[in-house]
Symmetry: C2
Subunit: 689 residues, 2 copies
Amino acid sequence: YKGTLWEKSKSFITLTCIAILIGCFAGFIQIFTETLGNWKTGHCSRNWLLNKSFCCTDVVLEEVSKRNPLLLKRQEMECIEQGIWIERTGIFFPFMIFITLSLCFALASTLLVKYVAPMATGSGISEIKVWVSGFIYESEFLNGITLLVKSVSLPLAISSGLSIGKEGPSVHYATCCGFIVTRWLLKNSLTYSDQFEYLTAASGAGVAVAFGAPIGGVLFGLEEISSATDFYPSTLWKSYYVALIAVTTLKCIDPFRNGKIILFNVTYDKNWKVMELPIFIVLGIFGGLYGKYISRWNIRYVHFRKQYLKNWPVQEVIVLALVTAFISYFNEFLKLDMTESMGVLFHECSKNDNSSVFAHRLCQLDENTHFWEFAKALSSLLFATLIRSLFVIISYGAKVPAGIFVPSMAIGATFGRAVSLIVERFITGANVITPGAYAFLGAAAALTGITNLTLTVVVIMLELTGAFIYIIPTMIVVAISRIILTSSGTSGGIADQMILVNGFPLLEYESEDKEDDFMISYTTGEIMSTDLYTLSETMYLSDLEVLLNDPNKEKLVNGFPIISNDYRLKSEMRCVGYVLKRHLIAKVLQHNIDSAESSNTIINFTISEEMLENGNEISFKDIVNLQPTTVKPNVSTAMLFKTFKHMGCKAIMVEEDGLLKGLITSKDIQRFERAKSREKFGPTYIYNE
Amino acid sequence: YKGTLWEKSKSFITLTCIAILIGCFAGFIQIFTETLGNWKTGHCSRNWLLNKSFCCTDVVLEEVSKRNPLLLKRQEMECIEQGIWIERTGIFFPFMIFITLSLCFALASTLLVKYVAPMATGSGISEIKVWVSGFIYESEFLNGITLLVKSVSLPLAISSGLSIGKEGPSVHYATCCGFIVTRWLLKNSLTYSDQFEYLTAASGAGVAVAFGAPIGGVLFGLEEISSATDFYPSTLWKSYYVALIAVTTLKCIDPFRNGKIILFNVTYDKNWKVMELPIFIVLGIFGGLYGKYISRWNIRYVHFRKQYLKNWPVQEVIVLALVTAFISYFNEFLKLDMTESMGVLFHECSKNDNSSVFAHRLCQLDENTHFWEFAKALSSLLFATLIRSLFVIISYGAKVPAGIFVPSMAIGATFGRAVSLIVERFITGANVITPGAYAFLGAAAALTGITNLTLTVVVIMLELTGAFIYIIPTMIVVAISRIILTSSGTSGGIADQMILVNGFPLLEYESEDKEDDFMISYTTGEIMSTDLYTLSETMYLSDLEVLLNDPNKEKLVNGFPIISNDYRLKSEMRCVGYVLKRHLIAKVLQHNIDSAESSNTIINFTISEEMLENGNEISFKDIVNLQPTTVKPNVSTAMLFKTFKHMGCKAIMVEEDGLLKGLITSKDIQRFERAKSREKFGPTYIYNE
C-alpha cells in the first residue's frame, strides 16, 4: 500500500521538493548578493554582517502600505539618518574600498569557477537547451558541485559590479536542483522524456524566482527551453506548479524584508495615445538592432577571447572588473545597481509627488530648463547606454556566472528614457507622455532583441512592473523587435547563437529557409553508419560481457540492434529490436552471475521469462525496444530530421525490404553535417576545429 | 518580383487580415449586444437606435481619467439625469417589455441557428479541437454563413438574458474568420499543418477580443486548442501577432466609447496574508467540485435533451428564456448583466469612496450590522450562485450560440463574495480582508473547474482586473481547483468531455492509465484496411478520371497509394508514394484536357516534368508524397498512435519486407476502436448508436 501511495504521489512530491529547493537557493542568493553589494558602500552598526534590508527592518515609519516604493525608500533614508546603517563618507577612502571589494569579489568568483566547477561559467541556457533536446551533455554540468559553486560565485560576480545579470545563471542552478532531486527521488523509474519535463519545469522556476515572475517563468520554460523539444500539456502543468511553489517559498523567506512581489511597482495613470505609435516603433527597431549587433559583436569577442585570452581567464575577469568599476563610478546610471537604476528610470514623474526620493533630476526637466541641463541629462543617459553595451559585449562569456537579461533591460531603459527626454523637449512638451513608460518599453525591446522571445518578455515586463495599461504598447514594441531581428537574418536569440558558436549538438530540424539548407539534398542512406555492432536474438552471457568490456567499442556505440536468429548473414540481417548499452550493463550487473557460469548462460532478447524452457536461459526482453523506429535508405534528410524530432528517438534503424542496412543516431547526422558543411563553406568558426 | 514579395509576405498579410477581421466582428458583436441589452430597459432620446454608451458619449464630466470605473459610472448617471438616456419607469409595463424583448431575442437567435446555420449552435470549442487534431469536421462548420449567423445570433442570445457567455462562441467566429481568410489568400499553397497554425492563432484571438486579454488569448490557443495537436514556436508567434492586431483593432473601434482595456479595473491595496490560505484552499475546492458536478449534470441533461426534447429545440429555448427572465428579475445579482454583476462583486469596499455608485450595500456590512441584514445579503448571494448554476446546467447545449466561461465566473464570484461575508463576520472582522478579491478568486476557481485550464485562467483573470498583487493567491486557487478536478477522475474540461459525449473523433493518444487502455493489445495488422484502391506509377488520364468519378469510391477514400510499375501483382505491391484525392482532382482540372485526348495522355507520378521524354506524358510528381510514413504490421497500437500524432500524417502505409500490405487512416483506428469498445463495454452513450 505504501508503494502505491508513493507511485501515485511521487511526481507531486518530486515537484514540491524541486520547487522548495529552488526557492531556498534563490533566497540565499538574493540575500548574499545584497549583503556583498551593500558592504561596498557601508556597514550596519548593529552587526556588520547584516545587509541594509535586514539592518533596517526595525525602522518603522508608521503603518504603511509596504508595497509603496516611495515609502520603502524613505524607510531606508530614515535608517541612515538614525545611524543604524552607516554609509562611508569621504572621497578617496570609500572609492578605494569600492574598487578593492569589487576586485576581491570578481577574483573569488572566477577562481571558484576555474578550479572547482568549470561548468558553472556563463549563463548555462544554451547547454540546458542542448540537454533537453536529447543530447546528454557532460554530467558535471548539472551536479551538486556545480550547483553550489554557481550559487556562491554568482552573488560574488554580480556584486563585483560587472555588467552581468543573475537570470541566466538562475536558470542553471534551478535546473541543477531539478536534476539532483529527480535523480535522488525517481532514479528507478525515470525515463528521459520524463526527466526533460522536470528539467523544463525547473528551468522555468529559475526565471520565476529571479524576476519574481511566476507566469513569466512558466512561459520561459515553454518558449525558450522547450523550443528545442516538444512541449506537452503535462509539462505546462509541472512548470506551473514548480514556479508557484518556488516563488511562494521565496516569498516566505522574504529576502528583502519588505514582502514585495513586484520588483518595480509603477502606477502609470496616463493612457498611451495613438500618436505615440511611431515612437514605440522606434523603440522596437532599437531593440531588434541591439539584439542583432550585440550578439554578433559578442560572438566576435568570444572568438577573440578563444584565440588570444585563452590562457588568462582569471586575469581577464580582474581587468574587466577594474575597468567596469572605474568607469561606472562616474556615471550616475552605471554606478547604481542595475535593478535600482531601472527602478529610477521606470518611475513615473508625478507633479504631486510628496516625497523627493524618487524625484530624480530627470523629472525636473521641462521646456523651461536650460538647454545645457537637458543636454547633460541626455548625454548621461546615452553614455550609459553605450558604455553598458560595450561592457555587455566584453563581459558575457567571461569565466564567471553571467546572464545577459538584466544588463540588456538596463541598456534598453536608459535608451528609452533618453528618447522620452527628446520627445518631451522637441515634440510634445511636458506632462503629455509618461517618460517612465518609455524606459519600460525600451527595456522590453532590448530584452526581446537579445532573447528572441515574445510572450515571455511581455509577461515578465508586466509582472515586474504591474503596468497593465501599457500591455498593447509592450506587445507592439516586442513584436517590432522580433520582426526586425528575424528579418535581418539573425537566427534566434543569443542562447541559440551560442549553441552554434560552441559547436554544441542541436538538431536544427525546422529551418525556415528550406532552400538555404544544403543538407536537404542528401538521403538517409548517405548518412547512416553501416559498420554496425549487432547482437543475436539469443547469445551466451560471456560473449555479451566480452562485447561490453571491449575498450575499443566502449566509446563508440550507445546501443545495439538485435538480429533475428533466422537471418544472421551480414547481407540479409533482419532487425527484431534495439537495446541500449547502459540498460544491458545494468541488467548484467543485476543478475550478477559469476564468470564460470556465464559461459553456460544464454540470454534471450525476444522471449519473456515465463515462456523460457531451458533452465540456463535468462530473458532480457524487458530492456529491448521491440519496435524501433525504422526508415528506408531513400528517405530525405528533411523527413529524417522530422522523424528524429517527433518520434523522440535516439537511434533509427535503416531498413530496405525488411533487411537492416544501417543505423542512424543524432551524432551521425551531426558528424555528417559538419563534414559536409566544412567541405562546402569552410569552417564556420575558426576555433571549433 | 511581385511573386517573391508575395511569397515572403503572404503569411504576414494573411495574419493581419485575419486579425483585423476578427477585431471588426468583435466590435460589431459588442456594440450590437449592448444595444439589444439596453433596449430592454430604456432608450436614447436623441436616436432610439443608439445604445447607452453611444448615446452618452457627449456627456463630459470634466477632464477625467477615462479608466476610472467610478467616473464612468458617474458619467452614466449624469446622462440619465440629463434625460439623454431614458430608463423606463413603472412596475408592470417595463417588466412586460423586459420579458417580451427577452423572448423575441431568444426566438430570433434560435430560429437563425435552426434554419440557416445549424453549425452555429453551442460554443464550438470542442469541434475546433477536433478539427485541429486532424479530423476535418463538416466543412459548413467554418464557412461564411456560420460566421454571419453566429455573429448575429450570439448577441441576440446573450441579450435574451440566458445564462450563457460570449467567449466560447467568440472562439468559433474567430476561427471561421481564420479559415475563410486562409482559404481565400493561401488556397494554392496551404498545407494542413499550416492551416492548423492559422486556426489556432485565430481561436486564441477570439478569446483575446472577448475578454480584452491578448496574452490570455494566446495562452488559450496554446493550452486548450493545441493540446489536441502539437504546438510549435511558429504557432506561438502567429498567435501573438493575431491577438495583438485583433485587440488593437477592437480598441480602435472602441465599442464602449471609453477607451478602456481592463474590463474590471480593481485597485486592491491590501496585501493578502498567509493566514488567508485556508480560505483560498476552500475557494479552490469549490472550483474543482463546481467543474466536476456542473459538467457531469450538464452531460446528463444533454442526454435527457437528446431523448425527450429532440424535436422541440425552439420551444425549449423559449421556455428557458422565459424562466430565466422571470426568476432573474427578482434577484439583484441575477438581474444585472453578468459582466456588470462581476464588476460590482470584484470592486473593493473602500471607506473613503467619495462616490456611492459602486458602494453596494454589501460594502456597508460590518460587525454592527443587524444579523438579519447580513443573512439577507448572504442568502441573496448563495441563491444567485445556486440558481445560476442550475441555469448553466440546462442552458449550455441549447440550440443557441452559448459559452460557459462567463457564467462560471459569475457563479464563482457570487460564491466567493458570500465566503468573504462569512469570513468578515465570524473570523476577521471588518477591514482586514479585501472582500472583492474573494469574489475574484472564486471566479478564477470556477473558471478553472469548468475548463481545466491553469495558466490561461490566471493570465485572463489578471488581464481582466489588473490585480497583480493577488498573483500568488490566484495561482494557488487555480492549482487547487485543478488538483481537485483531476484527482476526482474528471477527464479534462467541459470541452474535452463534450467531445466524448458527442462521439467526435479525437485520438486520445496519450492516455495516462496505460493499463486501462484495451487498444494496447492490438497491432497495426489488425486495424489496417487491406482493401485498397491503388494507382500505378504511370497510367492513362482517362483511367484516372474514371476512378475519380466513380460514385462508389467517392466517399470512401481520401488518397491512393502509388504502386511501382515493376511490382504490380496484388501479392507483392511496392508503394512508391501516396497522393491525396483532392490534389488529384485539382491537378486534373488544372490541365483541363478534353476527353478525346485524355485516353492518350499518360500520367507519370514519379518523374518530374523536365525529365519526361514522351510528348503525351504529363507529370503529377509535384502532388505526390514520395516518402509516406510506413510502419510494419506487427507494430503495436501505442506506437501507431504515437506515429500518427507526432508525424502529423493522415495516412500510414503498412509494409512488410518492403511490400505494401495495407493502409491506415485515423478513421480506420476510430472505426476499429468503436467496434472493439462496443464489443467489450457496450455502447458508451445511448444516443450515439
